[in-house]
């Protein structure tokens, strides 16, 4: 096993990872900062795929308070209010930094000022963007800066385990596999930031990048950390549906298509959304997803098992002009979005849940920090479109600053637990002990199981069955071998490791979904379809206890506002003056 040492190790090169590395290096140039990533730097993961944009209160008539209220209302008040406040406040700092320091260029109004567009679920048009390819602009500029900044790069290095010290009370480093050589690499570090991103790719239909497999969350569970809000998986209603054999299936057809007046038809050719919501196709993501799912359940699906989106009544030329990127993408794949029906299906998009953390990105394990989709609590029960990339860049930068200040260079590096190292290597070696078989039956079984039993509509009996089936799948995976002729760039070995992570995190989602016996935000229980005010007061927490995962509940801390209160003057009743500039308002309270 190769051993390397660094002061600060960042896992992941999305918005969280790149900002963490850049901030750490800037705050402490004499510390060694290393960024390790499963693919190529800045070219894998999901920040790059952001289409919509970056929510930030910039306009004089908008406010931090308004963005905060939109975030809490979207999150159905489950959010950790302190991290949510940090998000909306620091987004204003980070967006300027992205423009002025790293060189991102966002779209302008005709007069040269920055353009902010409307995005669903918000009471103000505050989404800064670069066309509909905002993520490419942000990540390309950050990656360039990272090359130029003296950060060490470990590309195509996949983290497989967080290794604690001998006493188990602090992190010692990270075990990785160098994908190109197939060699194990143990990287000792004084501080590690987990920024691998969530990405619910255990569902049959999913939007995230194909390299994503919840590795960070699985590693966090194995290292004893608690994950909160894991039942909260956001589905996007309109993923492309092109058959099981193509990687195109599940990729997003943008929200704006419905906003512009697109129709949804079921397999019988009926517009159906008005049966579920008076806003029809323009209802929120969760309602439209459930509407499509209900049609499928009722036997009114399209040939591939979904619904149709139809735009042509708006005028094919107009559609081509307004949705150029989407129309071209569909055309490349053989579909005419402007003129014909295209099959769509709700698709798993984002995980609101993640590692419990605080507004400085500390976790419960000394030496481990977290930011981005691996962190839980910012979005509560649902995420606003445009708060995702704000979340990763805001907290990535904070984590970089925190680690630079926290690292004690004089202290000796922790000695890794040999037992943990050996167990992690044994896990990775397991597929080489069996003869090579296709992983496809296990992958498909996992996809189907999560989609059918722990997907858009959930129910007690089915989820208990899902837990049993996940155990069976884990057992099957342990018995399946991988071609051992070469470890160098062995994609199938990494597919096996991906499935292991996904099965673990699927169990966490299922345990959390069983624990929340109400419907809230992205979590819908067909056996408990209403919201329950008692359960609104707690969030779910999943931990590993031995081989099992156990769900518990902890009280939401209303550190800034009680449910129903508002920071906005217009929401106040006449006899109840609202705190704005005066404490105990946000920005001043809590450490």
């Amino acid at each position: 096993m190769k051993e390397i040492t660094t002061d600060i190790l960042v896992l992941g090169s999305g918005g969280a990872g790149l900002l963490a590395a850049l901030h750490a290096k800037q705050a402490a140039p004499d510390l060694s900062v290393t960024i390790a990533v499963k693919g190529l730097l800045g070219k894998c993961g999901c920040t790059r795929m952001v289409q919509g944009g970056y929510n930030v209160a910039l306009a004089p008539t908008d406010s931090t308070e308004r963005h905060f209220m939109d975030t809490l209302n979207g999150g159905k008040w489950l959010n950790n209010q302190d991290v949510a406040w940090t998000l909306v406040e620091q987004a204003q700092v980070r967006i300027r930094e992205l423009e002025n320091v790293y060189g991102c260029f966002f779209d302008r109004n005709a007069d040269g000022t920055v353009h902010q567009k409307a995005f669903a679920g918000q009471t103000f048009d505050r989404t800064v963007h670069r066309g509909d390819l905002t993520g490419i602009e942000i990540i390309s500029r950050l990656a360039e800066q990272t090359w130029a900044t003296g950060v060490d790069r470990l590309e195509e290095h996949r983290a497989v385990a967080l290794i604690r010290n001998e006493s188990g009370d602090a992190l010692a480093g990270v075990l990785m596999i160098d994908i190109r050589s197939g060699e194990y690499v143990f990287c000792r570090a004084r501080a590690v930031m987990l920024g691998t991103g969530g990405g619910p790719t255990m569902y049959k239909y999913h939007t995230p990048s194909g390299d994503k497999s919840c590795d960070g969350l699985a590693m966090a569970l194995a290292a004893g950390l608690a994950l909160r809000d894991m039942e909260m998986v956001q589905f996007h209603p309109t993923g492309l549906l092109a058959g099981e054999h193509t990687r195109m299936t599940g990729t997003v057809l943008e929200e704006g298509l419905r906003g512009a007046g697109g129709y949804l038809f079921n397999g019988d050719g009926e517009r159906f959304m008005e049966r579920y919501d008076e806003r029809g196709e323009r209802a929120t993501r969760d309602i439209v997803s459930r509407g499509i799912f209900s049609e499928i359940q009722a036997g009114r699906a399209t040939p591939n098992g979904g619904a149709y989106i139809y735009m042509a009544h708006l005028g094919p030329d107009k559609v081509r002009a307004q949705f150029k990127g989407m129309v071209k993408r569909c055309a490349d794949c053989g579909f005419d979005l402007a003129g014909e029906r295209v099959e769509v299906i709700p698709t798993a998009h984002y995980m609101m849940g993640g590692v419990v953390f605080d507004e400085r990105c500390f976790t419960s394990l000394p030496g481990l920090f977290v930011a981005g989709e691996d962190a839980g609590g910012v979005h509560g029960a649902n995420r606003l479109g445009g708060n995702g990339v704000a979340n990763s860049t805001v907290f990535g930068g904070i984590a970089g600053d925190t680690m630079a200040a926290w690292v004690d260079r004089a202290a000796p590096l922790a000695e890794p637990s040999q037992a943990e190292l050996e167990a992690a290597v044994a896990h990775c070696e397991r597929p080489f002990q069996h003869s090579s078989e296709s992983l496809q039956p296990i992958r498909e079984a996992l996809y189907d199981l999560m989609w059918e039993k722990v997907g858009i509509a959930r129910e007690e009996t089915a989820m208990h069955a899902a837990l049993d089936e996940l155990d069976v799948l884990a057992g099957r995976l342990r018995g399946v071998g991988v071609d051992a002729s070469s470890r160098a760039y062995n994609v199938t070995w990494h597919d096996w490791l991906n499935l292991a992570s996904l099965i673990t995190v699927s169990r966490a989602i299922t345990e959390a979904a069983l624990a929340r016996r109400e419907s809230r935000g992205a979590h819908f229980r067909s056996d408990f379809p209403e919201m329950d005010e008692d359960q609104a007061k707690t969030f779910t927490v999943v931990r590993a206890e031995g081989e099992r995962l156990v769900a518990g509940r902890e009280p939401v801390q209303y550190t800034r506002l009680m449910p129903g209160e508002s920071l906005l003057v217009e929401d106040a009743t006449a006899d109840e003056p609202m705190p704005l500039a005066d404490a105990p308002g946000p920005g001043t309270s809590t450490a």
């Binding site: 070219k43 002025n100 296709s438 160098a488």
Partner: protein, 240 residues
């Protein structure tokens, strides 16, 4: 549909060779789907790189029947000839294994062309956004060249890179052109010097393969021509 594709896939390093597979043809099928099918069902040791699946990350570019393309957005029907596909790694880059190349030389040149933005000293981090009119001439030029995904298709398609491995290549020069037209950038004089050397913009022979092949429909050839103009003007003024 029960048709079968005959697919020849590169295996090994630069001294490797082609291995043929039969792959079932489907109605909706990209070249990346074909490669994935081979790895999942026929040759589990096949190495290839992909990430986003939708043409945003630029990780999955390969040569398909001799032409460099993004494989995730290339429909089999558009490229198969008589039911045959030949799939190779990108040209002009070292092969790691099979279809995977080492893209480090490509991105190193991006940096050598001083692609990264240089903050202006007069604009602090917490300043408001610069006022930049989108209709301005320079901004329009920058906008037209900005959405590069770094896939390496142009670099693999460029004959000049094949002849002169030091040549910075279309993507790096296109990036430099964007920043030469970014009025917020404080590093323009140094960047112009960086792209005016022997391996810079003047090495381009204007064969336009980059523009022909760019999957994002950018026009690196025009960007390079723009850099040549800037470079000549600066040289005439004695400012290079």
């Amino acid at each position: 549909m029960t048709a079968t594709l005959t697919v020849a896939v590169w295996k090994g390093d630069a001294d490797g060779g082609f291995v043929e597979h039969d792959v079932p043809q489907r109605a909706n099928q990209t070249v990346l789907d074909v490669v994935s099918h081979i790895q999942r069902e026929l040759d589990p040791a096949l190495s290839y790189r992909f990430a986003c699946r939708v043409g945003m990350c630029g990780s999955c570019a390969m040569r398909v029947n001799g032409v460099s393309r993004w494989t995730c957005r290339t429909h089999v029907d558009k490229v198969a000839r008589d039911g045959r596909l030949t799939i190779q790694p990108l040209a002009n880059l070292p092969i790691v294994k099979d279809l995977v190349t080492d893209m480090a030389p490509f991105f190193d040149k991006w940096e050598r062309a001083e692609g990264p933005f240089v903050p202006s000293e007069t604009r602090p981090a917490d300043d408001d956004f610069a006022v930049v009119e989108p209709a301005g001439k320079q901004r329009s030029w920058a906008d037209a060249a900005q959405e590069c995904i770094g896939c390496g298709v142009c670099y693999s398609s460029c004959d000049v890179v094949s002849w002169n491995p030091e040549y910075l290549g279309p993507a790096a020069l296109n990036r430099a052109w964007v920043q030469m037209n970014d009025e917020r950038d404080g590093g323009r004089p140094a960047r112009l010097r960086a792209v005016s050397g022997d391996a810079g913009c003047h090495a381009c022979h204007s064969q336009q393969s980059c523009t022909l092949r760019c999957p994002m429909e950018l026009d690196p050839a025009s960007s390079i021509a723009g850099l040549k103009r800037l470079s000549f003007k600066a040289a005439l003024r004695g400012k290079l």
